[in-house]
Symmetry: C2
Subunit: 377 residues, 2 copies
């Protein structure tokens, strides 16, 4: 079996799984307990938070542990919207955000009368900074944009986005960095809120992080106890929170190598499939190389997926958070592609575990599958 779905989730690294399991058994104490065992769990958790903060170049108290990226996205958007709704009720986002952003924005429209401007994207999936500039109004309190798109790998022009939002001091900037953390440099300067997830980095599931710049107020998403500076209630999942620092450390140590290696994989892969008739490359050249969206025009992505699976090759039709939605991916729909291309799109994602042989195998399999289906028609 060869796995090409690292953008959906990643295998838990051996050392992370082992370290985590030790923590699960040994450090079961409630981190809020006042005796030494509880204090020790708390200390390890705060040490992890401190290490994460150092790696992200922020302050410890700017990091909030969550149960994952979707929770972090919900918390950021609802948290800001509720606290600052009297300042204005306009939010700017884009048409290709993750479902946890899109559905949260709809919620804010329905329940809190927010007005949302969805910026369009270019053929590669990126927003145009000039359009962001034009969209910002007096009552815009938040811009929420993803750093890297999870379906096509588009890298948004983060520096330009930061510069624009910085000129509007009453407007906050949230960046969904779930797909970019430890894949690209993630400079949090000029960003007010950022969302992260562990399971995209060979970490455990049920573990995420929200960066919230000092001085930014948030209404909690999960109300209750005083955990996480009073911003996220519930008994700490201390083992997950403690192991997150090591997860990020490992991923950051491999960041450059990951980028170089997956760029090589993408280059080889695109070259190898270039000879297959009717294959269209959707991801642009400047996209994150580990996420490659392609289409085999006229062929249903589900059919390709299952044919590849029969050869032991695992890919994805779209975001795992949307696989149960029928039809063309909401993201792909926004790219202005011909319908025959959009409706045939699927996603391949690489990691350091992927070899050049693996992508050659995939390219060859795609060619054979195409031939097989064509003949059977």
């Amino acid at each position: 079996m060869i796995y090409f779905d690292y953008a959906a989730t990643t295998p838990v690294a051996k050392d992370i799984a082992e370290g985590y399991c030790q923590l699960v058994e040994k450090y079961f104490y409630n981190s809020e307990s006042l005796y030494n065992q509880g204090i020790e769990v708390n200390r390890l958790q705060e040490k992890s938070r401190g290490n994460l903060a150092a790696m992200l170049n922020v302050a410890s108290e700017e990091l909030i542990f969550t149960s994952g990226g979707s929770e972090a996205n919900n918390m950021a958007l609802k948290g800001i919207a509720l606290k600052y709704r009297n300042r204005g009720r306009h939010i700017i986002s884009s048409a290709v955000e993750h479902s946890s952003i899109m559905a949260t924005l709809e919620y804010l429209e329905t329940y809190f009368d927010f007005e949302i401007t969805y910026l369009p994207v270019d053929k590669g999936g990126k927003i145009d900074p000039a359009q962001l500039e034009n969209a910002i109004r007096e009552d815009t309190i938040l811009v929420s944009l993803m750093h890297v798109n999870n379906e096509v790998g588009a890298i948004n022009p983060l520096d330009a986005i930061k510069a624009i939002v910085a000129r509007h001091p009453k407007c906050f900037l949230h960046v969904d960095m779930v797909q970019s953390l430890a894949k690209l440099p993630c400079d949090l300067t000029g960003i007010d809120l950022a969302s992260f997830s562990a399971h995209k980095l060979h970490g455990v599931k049920g573990s995420g992080l929200l960066y919230r710049r000092k001085g930014v107020n948030l209404e909690p998403l999960i109300h209750g106890g005083n955990q996480e500076f009073g911003l996220r209630a519930g008994t700490h999942n201390a083992p997950a929170n403690i192991i997150l620092a090591k997860t990020l450390k490992n991923a950051l140590a491999r960041q450059k190598q990951h980028l170089l290696h997956t760029a090589k994989l993408k280059e080889h892969f695109l070259k190898q499939i270039s000879t297959i008739e009717d294959v269209k490359i959707i991801s642009s050249d400047d996209a994150l190389p580990s996420i490659v969206s392609i289409a085999m025009v006229g062929y249903k992505p589900e059919v390709i997926l299952h044919e590849l699976e029969a050869s032991g090759l695992l890919i994805s039709t779209k975001s795992a958070c949307s696989t149960r939605n029928p039809g063309v991916s909401r993201v792909i729909e926004q790219l202005g592609l011909a319908n025959e291309i959009a409706s045939s799109a699927f996603r391949i994602s690489f990691s350091l575990e992927t070899s050049l042989e693996d992508v050659a195998t995939l390219a060859k399999a795609l060619s054979q599958i195409k031939e097989k289906i064509r003949k059977s028609r």
Copy 2:
């Protein structure tokens, strides 16, 4: 070290930790993925949901996996309040609920103009059904009450509560069962929503469950993907969700034994401490026997806690979710006790792992500590 803080959290059982860790390594695939490995993770998760449903005597689709009890409580209350707010904006709860209920109710007051009636409790911590009956109005859409109080073990008269709410078909009933599940029979008949947590049952942290009766609509707390019937977005923490069925199965198999054993422990313990001057028993005779609140009048609970800790005995001053709040516990304050008793209260909680010798050791230590402090004054 002897642990007397099972109401705060419990050690993860050996077989649960081992099973969980195997799942973490092996079943890392995204449960939403369309290839067989993802489908297999999904199948195991749905099998767990089915087993949980069978044990709780409900339908599979009535159970929603969450990241814990606090999330389940938030989801239940906000979910109902937002969906049914046009029916009425009055909620009834009690003055001794968990912080995740209290803070959520305050949120609904602030942001959605809800009016909350907090029922008072008797000296043992129980509400009076007659007062519930009187409090229900035309615009009451929800009654949220805990089954067992986490600080004093009070068992609310659930059958009477159910019967009253049943006479008001426009009003839903939510029960926080975090402390009662697998300690007492938990019959979900007549209940619309119920919250559960794994880590109180020798399960893993970051794992909870919300029961939602068929036909009850909920606005999600975490918006996004279609996971959990569209009610709880985010990549599944499949390993935690899968192991939850075994966690509950083990706990239910020991439920009767747990009740009998902890009743014996409580009886012996209370007898042994009855000779200590100035010790007052706060928990009533009909409380859950595994949670015992007592006071050593005139002695600060933090001092007792640390003195006991020095003898290797771990207890709690109040709910772990409130340890960082100064002063008398919010729950204890509601019991109508003299201030000298309320300000000296602390909590001891037992499990099947606790032996008669353990409680004898604790009683003896309490007596010695009292003597020691008294002399040093």
